[in-house]
Amino acid sequence: MEPLIHVRDLCKDYRLTDRREGVRGGLLDLLSPRRRDLRAVDRVSFDIQPGEMVGYIGANGAGKSTTIKMLTGILTPSSGEVTVGGMVPWRQRQQYTRHIGVVFGQRTQLWWDLAVVESFRLLKKIYEVDDATYDRQMKLLDDLLDIGKLLGQPVRKLSLGQRMRCDLAAALLHRPRVLFLDEPTIGLDVVAKENIRGFLRGVQEREGVTVILTTHDLGDIEQLCRRVIIIDQGRVHFDGELSELRRRVGQTVRLSVDLRDPAASADLAAVTVGLPVNWDDETGLRHVARFNRAEVRAADVIRLVVNDRPVQDLHLAEQPIEEVVREIYRQAAANNTDSADDTGTGAAK
């Protein structure tokens, strides 16, 4: 199938001015500023099919927001190409933005001084939503996001969670084909996060909208995205299924054991001797075993421990995605130093 979003060798350079120290330095800065280019996004390429929901993740300053800004037409790239549904975002900005919805978690797109409903009426005009669609969408979004009670209030009086619900509704009012979400759950409490995730899952299934999501919260990714793209220092380090990511890093399993009587980690290590299992002592009563599922069966570890000593409780979990991503970063950093001579192209994929 033809991809909806097509990104090829996308680059963005920022020009930075370095300041010198002291009065002398300040005067020198005036005469000859020291400038250098920072490559925020470095030859990024990917394709996204219609209806996909992709997690775009990376640390602060990794280049993910810059990428999103180029995809939404806010920034013009230094080089490379982007087409979304055949349009070039920054060239055909007005007609392109008609088809997309954008939520920046840190900013609102609602009019600060207006009641929420006035913002929606304005958006109706801006996106030329007809009356029937408007009524239907408003009802649907109210059912899902429970924004009915907020409509009469000015945006500046809303809590962060309320505002985010309204912002999501605003981004979806015109039924966009592509939805860009930049940190949509930032600063929200657990319940609000769950609500937003549930909503996004529903919208994606029902409307088949294509979603690109950047986040720091890997819970978002785990619950929403099958595919992830990991970016670090402007480069794509991983692009594939979440399950493939886990496999790449190693299918590590985390078994936590609550004992009835305190013990040292060495005692437990003695119990599983011969198996590649790492034990960590958390409280003396709680111990955590980490092992690779491909090498060790969880049932064997559990049987050995339970037969050896009284156990209060057991909990088996997949390695948290944070640790998986950290591992990818670590591997990427190692690759970077290895291939420093060959201009780093080897590490780009």
Partner: protein
């Protein structure tokens, strides 16, 4: 989407029709009017400050003309009698209370705080939106600001009547064009924020410089000939000097037509210039935080 649109990976071409544009920007005019109405308390003090500006000039010019009369010099300065001078000052300030706005400051703030991004992701042109909002603001100013100031200033300082019904009508047309010229100039100044890290100095210079160069503070006829011919080539005189001279009956017949045409030319020229600068600036924009 659900109606089978997912099958194609193409986005449909789209263009807003002229009628829809009118409806949209009309909506912005209405919203700006309502927004300022909600903050109207801020403007009650403005009536007082404008009256004080006019009072200051009133006593200054009375003293100036009295001094000249005492020295046996002519009763006119720069071609204006003392009564015309008072009228000039009052109408200048009354006009300013109508066309004034803060487009440059607002645009600069949006750029430096990165809020501009939220406007770039919408299918409209921010320049047109800000112009529409300026019209809405002017509507509010007319009712809550300009007319109250007029009701105070005109009787208190014995401001002269317009040179005739036609002069009054053309003054109104002329001040409407002033609004466009002022707003587009202000938009251009605001665009400087794309290139400059700190634009506060420029904004302050604009505030003072505009009032001087538009002729609000001192009429151009006070200045040497070279200065007067220099300002003829600048858009500023079209903001205040031209409409006030029409009011005073100093611009009639062909001079009046020339004045209005010059205003239209500047309004169109600056709108096009602002659009080009905006396009250049947004192509090179770097939004804070990335």
């Amino acid at each position: 989407m659900s109606d089978g649109a997912t099958a194609t990976a193409r986005l449909a071409p789209w263009r807003r029709s002229p009628v829809a544009s009118l409806g949209l920007y009309g909506h912005f005019i209405r919203l700006a009017f309502l927004k300022f109405l909600a903050y109207r308390l801020r403007y009650y003090t403005g009536v007082v400050s404008y009256t004080i500006f006019v009072a200051g000039h009133y006593y200054l010019y009375l003293a100036l003309y009295a001094g000249r009369a005492a020295e046996g010099l002519g009763a006119t300065v720069g071609g204006l009698t003392v009564r015309e001078m008072i009228t000039y000052v009052a109408i200048s300030w009354i006009g300013r209370s109508l066309y004034f706005n803060n487009i440059s400051r607002d645009l600069a703030r949006m750029v430096t705080e990165g809020e501009i991004a939220m406007h770039l992701i919408k299918p409209f042109h921010l320049q047109s939106v800000m112009m529409a909002e300026a019209v809405g603001e002017a509507g509010f100013r007319l009712i809550m600001f300009t007319i109250p100031i007029m009701l105070v200033v005109v009787p208190v300082f014995h401001v002269g009547a317009p040179a005739g019904a036609a002069a009054l009508l053309w003054t109104l047309v002329s001040f409407t064009l002033s609004l466009v010229i002022y707003s587009q100039l202000s938009f251009l100044v605001g665009c400087l924020a794309f290139a400059m890290k700190n634009i506060q100095g420029v904004l302050r210079a604009q505030m003072v410089g505009m009032d001087f160069l538009t002729g609000v503070i001192v009429p151009f006829t006070f200045f040497p000939a070279w200065f007067q011919s220099a300002v003829n080539w600048l858009p500023f005189q079209c903001i205040s000097y031209v409409p006030v001279m029409i009011y005073l009956g100093k611009r009639t017949g062909p001079a009046l037509v020339d004045g209005i045409l010059l205003q239209v030319a500047w309004a169109v020229g600056l709108t096009i210039a602002a659009r080009l600068v905006w396009r250049y600036a947004t192509r090179r924009v770097t939004v804070q935080g990335g």
